[in-house]
Amino acid sequence: MPVPDVFELARNGERRALGRLLTLVERGGVNGDKVAEISHPIAGSSHVVGLTGAPGAGKSTITGRLAAAAGLASESGVGVVAIDPSSPITGGAILGDRIRMDEVIDREGTFVRSMATRGSSGGLALAVPGAIRVLDAVGYDPVIIETVGVGQVEVDIAGTADTTIVVVTPGWGDAVQANKAGLLEVADIFVVNKAERPGASDARRDLELMLDLGAHPDPNKPTWRAPILMTTATDGSGIDELWDQVVAHRSWLTETGELLGRRQNRDRFEMLGRVDELLGGLGRKRAESEQGLALLADVQSRKLSPTAAAAELLADLLES
């Protein structure tokens, strides 16, 4: 069956067809490109919510609960993409996010897809922007993305989501940690999960302190101070309040025009990423050619620097 027909089925609510489209996006190639070509013009209206935080912080459970809260408010269905790491050694993966999402997993109108990182770093899989586009194009709104458990610098989600939620737990670190961690600069909303545990109020205070230190708003620019929510995801407490904040952030983004800016930036990053990918592919292909191998030999015999060899390999593209 050709891709446009599969797409039509998916738009008509055929979940198996949507499942296949997401597989095509993950595989890339001709079919993946076709899916992007069809979905891009009609996508762009769904609210993309990203969740990130350390492994074991409760991201999957919160994602499931949040999807349930969103489902009550949304008529269009909730899309979830949950990402887990691929083994760097074998390429295999254990995708275990569905077991934390009992609340939503069988609800009509909720679509949950597990995705392995397949070698990409930064907490997302390469196929994530494409998967968001497809879910958006077939009508899911919001689309919730759960990243792999990340530490300090794996913050790709912020370039991909409209609203980024950072989940921490009691005892995760002090104010210094909060200040240096790249994670915190990208948060639109903070969640202190496992809030029933000792140290929850300390974690909250450290976050407040960090936000105070960073509070030098440009009076000419709209500012959003990230709210800090306390949740216990396992029993659902705090989740409704979290969803309210997600909705509030969405309104703020729209009213201030920030949404448009973020999305334009997202498109730009994605296009640049594709440029890197295509140029890299071309470069590697040329490196295998007779000319490329001759240049490599010169580098290996120290006649030519690696940089000079690379420049010569791509000389025709670098001229202008």
Partner: protein, 144 residues
């Protein structure tokens, strides 16, 4: 149409793409050690395992198979319910219009293996199956 000629079959499983396999236990059977061992074996063989764990229903597994575009369903059974539950899974797969194999692992008496195979179970794996056995059973079941 020009796009037709460049579009390859959307159902084709290209070489080198990781297989996606669902692992679950049906009903009231909480012994998941075996399931976890198999999950690890498959992961180490480059498979993407969609791990659903214990106390699943056929409906939940079908939902997951559709949304995850799974290539196979693996069931672990240790409570002697296999003659009832495994064929029910095969039926559910057929009813959903899915074309993917159901593989059973666990404590299955020899006499029952034939019956399960007659009822559409693609492969049965017992205790002591090696990683190679498990991976071979999955790959063969999918390609058949």
């Amino acid at each position: 149409m020009s796009t037709e000629s460049t579009t390859t079959d959307v159902a084709a499983q290209p070489d080198g793409e990781p297989l996606r396999v669902i692992l679950a236990k049906l009903g009231l059977d909480g012994h998941d050690r075996g399931l976890k061992v198999v999950a690890r074996m498959l992961r180490d063989a480059g498979v993407e395992v969609i791990y659903l764990g214990i106390r699943q229903t056929t409906a939940t597994i079908i939902n997951a198979a559709e949304q995850e575009d799974a290539d196979a369903i693996g069931l672990s059974m240790h409570n002697a319910g296999h003659l009832t539950l495994a064929p029910r899974m095969v039926e559910a797969v057929k009813e959903a219009g899915l074309d993917i194999p159901v593989i059973v692992g666990g404590i299955i008496p020899d006499d029952d293996v034939i019956e399960l195979q007659n009822k559409g179970i693609a492969a049965v794996l017992g205790p002591g199956a090696s990683t190679d056995d498990v991976v071979a059973a999955v790959r063969t079941s999918i390609s058949n």
